[in-house]
């Protein structure tokens, strides 16, 4: 099967904002789960009420990571928040190593 590229291609992190519904579908998470993550600060959408929430494109990667952490490793939501913060920190450190050419 070969499909041509008439369809849109977006860079999620640059061009896309996701609604709650779109984010749930894209990472196959239940809406309830995503709401809990927002409360725990794992995800920070703009907008007040859930139906107004807009998630930055970068939330997709975070939400997928959060989902595997909670599903595969049964980490609870505060633990997911902590793990993601630590992963961000590791990423920052690795990026400074890369700049020095050591990784």
């Amino acid at each position: 099967m070969r499909s041509s590229d008439e369809n849109r291609v977006d860079i999620v992190e640059e061009d896309v904002q996701l609604t709650l519904d779109e984010l749930c579908r894209a990472c196959r998470a239940a809406e309830e789960q995503v709401r809990v993550w927002v409360v725990e600060g794992v995800l920070t959408p703009i907008g007040d009420a859930p139906h107004e929430w807009r998630f930055a494109g970068a939330s997709l990667r975070r939400a997928r990571l959060a989902l595997t952490l909670s599903r595969e490793l049964e980490v609870n939501p505060p633990g997911v928040a902590l793990a993601l913060d630590l992963l961000d920190e590791i990423e920052t450190l690795q990026s400074s190593l890369r700049r020095r050419g050591r990784a």
Binding site: R2, R8, V9, D10, L65, R99, G101
Partner: protein
């Protein structure tokens, strides 16, 4: 077909309790989770672990697996060639699989080994695909793809082959190969995702087709290191080029550039070429290209070269390359 020793994969005994299995799985899953581990074989290991856990945590599957396993071991002891496993005909009579497990579909449910599929069949990934008049959007699919760094500089159209789980006419799950022509947008960075609208799973009823998300990685490059939008390249110089200054040609992903090396440049000095990194998207500034100077020494293999080094030694008699190491134990 290779026999999979799921107990060995998880490092547990054959009579391990469900708790032991859970504990062993968790520990290995933390160690090899592709998002947490940088080990090169993490993804493959994680899949093996997931598959072993999927079988051993489920009492029905475990019992069926044990029955097949002990028979296989008898055959091995009887001198049948190693690695050659065929499930005995009718092996699964007497086991009834309740076929549950809809919600743990995620990482572990994809890409089972042939062995697993011979025993348990390939579980249709879209478990919610039933004969129904319900209208539902198709599932969004995800895949990882590797692209060349150069493509992010210029933008490019690339053919990408993906193997996607799909249902055949009889409703069996199969891996379907498909090739997509994808426009790689200029300015794309590692770790970002491309969304291809309408390239995911088919919708139910007249529900819309899902989207396909491609996570982007750069293929490792011989010359360049990438950090976000910034690109780093090591540029070797001859000692006289570093000392006296020079004009040299340096490679960049967008083509060679002519660089002026200031006199007295030390190894490790970074020259920044502003805006020569990965191009910016949507008003964001382009990254920078950093040329990191290194110094390559010509060999002292010939008499002339040795004399030249001797002359340099005499000329720089006061030079102490280890001066910075002196001055206290700190």
């Amino acid at each position: 077909m290779k026999f999979q020793d799921y107990y060995q994969t998880l490092g547990v005994a054959r009579d391990a309790s469900p708790d032991d299995i859970k504990k062993a799985y968790r520990k290995l899953a933390r160690k090899y989770h592709p998002d947490l581990s940088k080990a090169p074989d993490a993804e493959a290991r994680f899949k093996e672990i997931g598959e072993a856990n999927e079988v051993l945590k489920d009492p029905e599957k475990r019992a069926a697996y044990d029955a097949v396993g002990s028979r296989y071991q008898q055959e091995q002891a009887g001198g049948r060639g190693p690695g050659d496993f065929q499930p005995p005909p009718g092996w699964d009579t007497g086991f009834e699989f309740s076929g549950r497990g809809g919600d743990d579909e995620g990482f572990t449910a994809q890409d089972h080994s042939d062995f697993f599929e011979a025993l348990f069949g390939r579980r249709a990934r879209g478990a919610d695909v039933r004969r129904t008049s319900m209208r539902m959007p198709g599932q969004d699919h995800h895949a990882k793809v590797m692209i060349d760094l150069e493509d992010a500089f210029t933008g490019a159209q690339r053919s990408i082959s993906l193997r996607m789980p799909a249902l055949d006419a009889d409703g069996h799950g199969v891996l379907q190969e498909r090739t997509l022509d994808v426009n790689i947008p200029k300015g794309l960075r590692a770790g970002q995702h491309l969304r291809l609208a309408g390239q995911g799973g088919p919708g139910l009823g007249d529900g819309p087709t899902g989207d396909l998300f491609l996570e982007i990685e750069f293929k490792p490059h011989r010359l360049y290191r990438v950090d976000g939008r910034d690109v780093y390249v090591d540029l070797p110089l001859a000692p006289w080029e570093a000392a006296l200054g020079a004009s040299v040609s340096a490679p960049t992903p967008a083509g060679d550039v002519e660089l002026t090396i200031p006199p007295g440049s030390a190894a490790g000095r970074k020259l920044r070429l502003k805006g020569r990194g990965i191009p910016g998207v949507g008003g964001a500034a382009a990254g920078d290209l950093y040329v990191v100077l290194t110094i390559a020494l010509p060999p002292a293999g010939s008499d002339v070269a040795r004399q030249a080094y001797e002359a340099l030694k005499a000329a720089a008699a006061d030079f102490d390359p280890r001066a910075s190491m002196k001055g206290g134990a700190a």
